[in-house]
């Protein structure tokens, strides 16, 4: 299981993606290149969690994996400061 930054969970996430994939047999012909980026203004709290069965964190090409299972969850939420908005600068 790998985890990115874990934020507080006092609120439900604004964006949430949950997926589960099971397979009897899995074979990568090429190591996949993946990238996950989060964004948020003014600030955000993000988290990715994955749990794997019979699958290493870094897979290898041309290796057979059997009875595989991956549970994945991605969340991102605005960090709410709770402060009222500041009046804009007159020259902005």
């Amino acid at each position: 299981m790998s985890s990115a930054s874990e934020g507080p969970h006092e609120n439900a996430p604004d964006i949430e993606f949950v997926a589960t994939v099971k397979a009897e047999h899995l074979r990568f012909r090429q190591v996949p290149r993946t990238d996950i980026r989060f964004s948020g203004t003014p600030s955000y709290e993000s988290s990715t969690v994955s749990r794997r069965r019979n699958l290493p964190d870094r897979v290898a090409a041309d290796v057979d994996y059997y009875d595989v299972r991956v549970d994945y969850r991605l969340i991102n939420r605005l960090r709410d400061s709770g402060a009222p908005p500041q009046p804009p600068h007159p020259h902005l």
Binding site: H9, E10, N11, A12, P13, D14, I15, E16, F17, V18, A19, T20, V21, K22, A23, E24, H25, L26, R27, F28, R29, Q30, P32, R33, T34, D35, I36, R37, F38, S39, G40, T41, P42, Y44, S46, V49, R51, D71, Y72, R73, L74, N76, R77, L78, D80, P84, P85, P87, P88, P90, H91, L92
Partner: protein, 233 residues
Amino acid sequence: MEDDTFGTGELAERPGYTGRHGQGGGPSAEPDVLLDVPQLRVDEIILDVEDLSAHVSVEANVLNLLRLSVGADVQLGGVHLEIRGVEAQALLKVRLDKIAEIINRVLTTIDRNPEIVDQIVPPLGAVTSELERTAGRSVDEVSGAVGSTASDLDRSVADAMTGEPGVSDGMAGEPGVSDAMAGEPGVSDAMAGEQVVAEAPQHAAEPAGSNEGTPRGFLRRLKQERNTEELSP
């Protein structure tokens, strides 16, 4: 499917998790956007993907007081795999409660402090004034250029009618004008050059009938015809 997925097992126990079974309660239990793939079964998949990307984001702006955005980008630079006996579930949820609450707070703040709006208006007014100044300046420049060209044309036509040799010289001496009118500098310059050459003998001797095709020749011919009519019985 086993029951210890993120949706119904471990993740469901996390504070704030509001899975498909509604854990967590409260106003955020139901998402505003829901994409649910409850169960997918495929015997075999051979996947060959390059540069696949998925982007999910929520943005909200209130004038220049508030800018909110939250999003996630997932990119697969390359995936080449074979998978058999596949079972999959996927669930995407987007909640707008918090953003709506923040916007509501902003509007409440504006309602209680309307002077905030006054501080927003001057920048808008400044932008409008700048646009007006720019537009006015552009119109003045265009009208000035047109006026200058028109006066040059008037002078050229008047000179042509009176037969002054400076007509073609004036046109040739202002390539910008002739270029703009002709659109082909080479052509207009060549025409001006021909006129200069043709005008040269007029200064030297001005033989009668030598410029029959010119305005001067036309005026002279009219005068001669008029004299002829007066003399004829």
